[in-house]
Amino acid sequence: METKTMINYTHRQAGHCESGATSNLLRFYGEDMSEPMAFGIGNGLYFSYIPFLKVQFAPMISFRNLPNTVFHRGMKYLGIDATVIKKFKDPKEAMLALDRNLEKGIPTGMQVGVFNLTFFPPEYRMHYNMHNLVCFGKEGNLYHISDTVMETAQVLTYEDLLRVRYAKGVFAPEGKMYWINNVPGNLDIKAAVAMGIKKTVYEMIKVPFPLIGVKGLRWMGRDLRKWPKKHGVTKASFYLGQVLRMAEDFGTGGAGFRYIYGAFLKEAGEKFNHTELLEASEMMGKTANRWREFTYIGARNCKSRSQPQEDYGMLGDMMIEIAGMEEQVYRKLDKIKL
């Protein structure tokens, strides 16, 4: 039986998968929200460094919040009626729920693993389970997919989609799906921006734990200096590579999301005519450029493996300097009243 449902959904490429999906979903419902706005309101920005937990053979480093934070918090702060189903026990039921949504004309977001995602760039296909995409149509056995990392919309077979929705391992998606039910007419974007900034400031400078936010950055900077002595040059280079991969790989928009956040501050500042926000956005932009310098120097270090140890000392200092620059932005944001 050939069934066909196609929702008139526009695929737009974005820097970050989840804020891209959130922004595209909102646009479908007539709310013109850019990716940076969705990212900023939904607390996309984050940092954590967990040296004793190894992921892909290197310390766990994250520049982003937990999966589904952007969508969930964004919807909460904006006061939009949305549904998140965290988990389906039965994969077939998860696919049926998706089909029902499509028949009702609801584009539906899902968390997936990228290892078996057939259309994904081969160089990124590792076991990474925190990716997001939106399904907006079905034709027979094929699902139409909007993945904001990709330049164009893609298709996946039923079997392949089921497989990526049930990828296993750390942060297994377990069939998670989410969608918007209803967008009220007059959204209070200003209040949402204020709540989003407040929470991000909290997470970056006020969490009383040394490995999260700016404190985590400093900790990593100090560790970075010691890596060659502690682990040898090859491993140090791999660890450094991991920091850079987390900051620059797919779905970051570059420099560990700092550009996207800066763009958010700028857009919010322009929208509400707020000078201090605009100043903060410029500071964030400069920080992001410094991050990018860090990744360039770091990448060159990784390229030639027999590097003198001083380079790690320099990179560690640079990281601590960046932490200081970021802290100033958050302190400034902390004082801003919207």
Partner: protein
């Protein structure tokens, strides 16, 4: 892009070849005059080196495991697990058995006594035939 961020832009063209050109991604940039801009391009050569580093490391790990399988210390399961970039906890999750059992199965001696059903399940995860799991090509 403007001239003011030239020092941040890619190093001189030609000294680096792009390795990955499957998909162009969206990147943000910042520059004092223009503010924040978006641009779609391939990952820059420096970042591509970093991505390659992790694939090279995976290849090296696979090679090391392969040697251990050849001398009979590890079972072919260890090799195929490494080949699809998995680690014990993840493989255990796919197998729906406990981690310590998977860890045991990595020993050659235990592997030799495994039941056909379990072997078939492993083979299905690795997407190979049971025969290939028992006798990998490099052991022949």
């Amino acid at each position: 892009m403007g001239n003011s961020t030239d020092d941040l832009k890619d190093p001189s063209p030609g000294d680096n070849e792009l390795i990955y050109t499957y998909n162009r991604e969206l990147f943000y940039h910042f520059d004092k005059e223009k503010g924040f801009t978006q641009e779609v391009h391939y990952q820059n050569p420096d970042n591509q080196v970093i991505i390659k580093q992790s694939w090279d490391a995976a290849e090296q790990r696979l090679d090391e495991v392969k040697q251990l399988v050849i001398i009979g210390k590890l079972s072919p399961i260890a090799y195929y697990m490494e080949k699809i970039l998995m680690e014990v906890p993840m493989l255990a999750a796919y197998m729906e058995i406990s981690k310590w059992r998977v860890k045991r199965h990595l020993k050659r001696k235990v592997f030799n006594k495994l039941k056909p059903e379990i072997l078939a399940k492993y083979a299905a995860i690795f997407e190979i035939k049971v025969e290939a799991l028992k006798n990998p090509d490099f052991l022949k």
